[in-house]
Symmetry: C2
């Protein structure tokens, strides 16, 4: 029984890693859909979120089940309760990829990204993907150095986010209000996606070190 119990705990961890991988892939494809005005790809990202939601429900069910039947104590209890929070964060990263894809869909056949911001958005997409995938690695490895690296990646994201605003507020901005709205929302979605992935890594740090991290610094 005890073995099967730890197998179930491991299965929850594996599910969380898989969710991170799916989120990374989704944000990467959503970015391509945004830049290339690729409607078909946008639709795939939107439809693909169902797999993330299914994993969400499955992991939640397993965690509740273990909590109720096994009455875990101390370390295992902390793992389970933390997993129930990480699964919410990871489900949200999937949602933000969908939000990005929906911008692409709304603006099709045009691209929502003005030419001069293409490289910044591309970099935001790559950074978001890297953060999501690393969050999965942090869950699997509990590597605190990697978690710290992820926080630095998030600083990169914040810098890219500021670049968007600087471009939009320049007097040379010539793309009108609609583009400004879309870029504002897209920037926010990338930033939030990264925040939730970083929150996952910080929750792992909490599991390892037992140190509470303020929710504000988790996912502002």
């Amino acid at each position: 029984m005890r073995d099967s119990y730890h197998e179930q705990l491991d299965a929850i961890g594996d599910g969380l890693v898989e969710m991170s991988r799916l989120a990374g892939s989704a944000v990467s494809r959503a970015t391509t859909a945004l830049l290339d005005a690729d409607l078909e790809l946008a639709q795939k990202v939107i439809a693909g979120d169902e797999a993330v939601n299914a994993l969400y429900r499955s992991i939640e069910g397993q965690a509740f089940d273990l909590l109720a039947r096994q009455q875990p104590v101390a370390g295992d209890l902390r793992v389970l309760v933390t997993s129930l929070r990480m699964v919410v964060d990871l489900e949200r990263t999937g949602d933000y990829a969908v939000h990005l894809a929906k911008i692409a869909r709304r603006r099709y056949p045009a691209s929502a990204v003005p030419p001069e911001l293409r490289s910044t958005i591309l970099e935001m997409g790559q950074t978001a993907q890297r953060i999501a995938v690393k969050a999965g690695s942090v869950i699997a490895s509990r590597d605190l150095d990697l978690a710290a690296e992820l926080v630095r990646d998030d600083d990169t994201m914040d810098e890219l986010h500021r670049k968007l605003f600087t471009a939009m507020l320049a007097t040379s901005w010539q793309y009108g209000t609609e583009a400004a709205i879309d870029v504002t929302l897209a920037g926010r979605y990338y930033e939030r996606l990264a925040d939730h992935a970083v929150a996952v890594a910080r929750r792992v740090v909490y599991l390892v070190t037992g140190e509470f991290v303020d929710e504000d610094t988790l996912a502002e």
Copy 2:
């Protein structure tokens, strides 16, 4: 011991209700700060979030403590785990009020809200406050009718949100890119604040009925 246990459970519920009240008050004051370019009020909302965060940490600590020491089963276990999720949602509602206040602070001494959108933003603020306070009532009363009412209030919020976009995308928009960015962000913050408060109500529905509600419909 059993009595003190249920007293602690009640204390967690009371703390969640208090967080809802603080969030309602914060978003109401943030809205006034936005509309009246009231810097002092904006600063108060920003500083006031510490009280919300302190409650967050306290409730989280109490819930973990009960989970670890009392090994609750079935109903109580569900209440505790759900509380650990509601507290995250409520902490976020406080953050969104702070985000709104920060827009007011950034644009001071100007108001971030163009004259023709004042009534819409005012209504969004009132709706957000109503939803936050009602979420607290739903926690206290477990009244499913009130929870349903809250979902309808959220539809009102979505409508108001759409009104903002319609105004910004009209050819008559004359307030430039900076105002469009601020209104886009403010609209998003009101909507998200409401989403998290509605999520709290939906989690109460889950506690009462035992029916899982998809995370997507909880707080998209």
